[in-house]
């Protein structure tokens, strides 16, 4: 019996150390999820519990009032709720699909072929991982304005196609997971580049495109787009919900309900494809 337990444990591990690790992780995990737990609890609190003194962390008598209020408020607004939802769903799906296709095409040739300029291009993309939206926000607006995309959804969708993170992760994953011999063999059999890409490369890198999907959905689902979009019927869901939540202290419960609604999609997608994400991230290193 004892031998079995010993065998199951990794070498070089002490029981005391394990105990320490579990405590440490437990404490910090609690710290990480405090705001989420608090939000979920607040979303189910009736009005009198939200303004209770002293404030309470957990809900006593959960109700759906806040969610009902949210629906009523959205029903009363000038543009129907479904329109905001449609805008955001459209931005998320179109942006993600375009990003996956375009980034994989680029990553495929960068990973599997040598041609003048390929290394330089990839190095620039890696540098671009460091950009934050704010740093280039001014010239970006000028570019979008020049293209005539101000106040259209394209101002949010098209730039998302070129997110550097996607190309980077895809290229690193292809480097590690598509054997060169396979491509050689396909070429010998007379397959053209496009066929090699769609029939051989893409099915092999399914975990990578699911990972690109996660990062893209995370990004676009929460995109407010307020810099570019001002027409009411084109506003995104986070934008519209933000307006409702910003209406002051009386909406504190509704604001919490809003946060819960917005949180569901990214968290659910992440949980579903988690193992694929981890597999892709295993190849994400930057070599110098």
């Amino acid at each position: 019996m004892r031998k079995k337990i010993l065998k199951r444990r990794k070498p070089n591990r002490s029981w005391g150390g394990d105990f320490g690790i579990y405590t440490f992780l437990g404490l910090f995990a609690a710290f990480m999820v405090i705001p989420m737990i608090y939000t979920i609890n607040s979303a189910f609190k009736p009005m009198d519990e939200i303004f209770l003194y002293p404030p309470r962390f957990f809900v006593r008598n959960p109700t759906m009032d806040n969610f009902q209020d949210l629906l009523v408020l959205l029903g009363k607004s000038w543009v129907p709720f479904s329109r905001y939802l449609f805008n955001t769903v459209f931005i998320t799906i179109a942006g993600t699909a375009g990003h996956i296709i375009i980034a994989s095409m680029g990553a495929f040739v960068l990973s599997k072929y040598r041609f003048p300029g390929s290394m330089t291009f990839f190095r620039i993309v890696v540098t671009a991982l460091m950009f934050n939206g704010y740093v280039t926000s001014i010239p970006n607006y000028l570019v979008i304005a020049r293209l005539g995309w101000v106040d259209t959804v394209w101002a949010v969708v098209i730039p998302a196609f070129a997110a550097p993170m996607g190309l980077f992760l895809m290229k690193q994953y292809m480097d590690a997971n598509i054997p060169d011999v396979l491509i050689e063999a396909a070429k010998v059999d007379g397959a053209k580049e496009w066929a090699v890409f769609t029939r051989i490369a893409m099915p092999l890198v399914k975990p990578a495109w699911l990972t690109l999907m996660i990062f893209s959905v995370q990004n676009l689902w929460n995109a407010r787009g307020s810099t570019f979009i001002y027409s009411e019927q084109l506003k995104t869901l986070p934008y519209a919900l933000g307006q409702i939540a910003a209406a002051g202290i009386a909406r504190a419960g509704v604001a919490a309900a809003v946060s819960v609604v917005m949180m569901i999609v990214p968290v659910a997608t992440f949980i579903i494809v988690q193992s694929n994400v981890m597999e892709t991230m295993a190849t994400s290193g930057i070599k110098d």
Partner: protein, 310 residues
Amino acid sequence: MSLQRYLARKREFRAYQWKMAKRSKACYLFLAPYGILFITFFVVPVITSLCLSFTYYNILEPPRFIGLQNYINLLLADDVFLIAVKNTFLLALITGPVGYISAFLFAWFINELPRYIRAIAIVMFYAPSLSANMYLMWAYLFSGDAYGLLNAILIELNVIQQPITWLTNPQYMMAVVIIVSLWSSLGAGFLALVAGLQGIDKSMYEAGLIDGIKNRWQELWFITLPNMKSMLMFSAVMSITSAFNVADVPMALTGFPSTDYATHTVVLHLIDYGSIRFEMGYASAVATLLFFTMILCNKLIQKLLRRVGT
């Protein structure tokens, strides 16, 4: 003579490259959609920003070239910018290294867990990044009146008699911003570290055991870290980026502009001039300085990481 040979060789090389480029037409076609969009939305803006930083530009009038005036004003005449620089470096120096090291510790410890608990732990630690706007909730927890949860707890425990205005008192504002930034700092870099740890060949550890490695710390330094250098690099790039780009958190929690500019950062200064005062040239100068600082930091980190495991 040797110069001639050099030029001839260069010409030859160029001709060879041109031939190669012509032969890989299909490659360029594949890369074209991404390449064009990337250049339009990432490369062109950076170059534009660099050029605009030498001009006075208010969007209404065409840009006017003023040389280094923006940079001179920034560094010599703009007190608020210097406060912003000080705050940004303070934030970066704390949230950068602490965030990076704790991301690694979490990843390392999570990797020791049994498989199913591990999956749950990853979701819990990554949750702040998944729910992008959840940092707003800290405003309720740190609220300055007695209804704020932290104040209520401290009053209940008799630590304080009156509520502390966490978000408007310059004494506490920075600490709050640092805590919340650290809380939200586990992003793609953290996932890369967890994945990197899982990818290390198990037989390496057995070999290490035979070679006389005694505890998990030795195992970490001699086997684990050297085997995931590239993940460490990726994660470092992510950490530096987020450490220098703190803007959303202070803007939402401590207001914009904040009391006494106590949590004013470089990016907030950029937003101030770019989208409120419409001094685009000046804002571009801020962006350019920030950009080069970040590249410099990355080079530095690269140098440091090369020495891991030696």
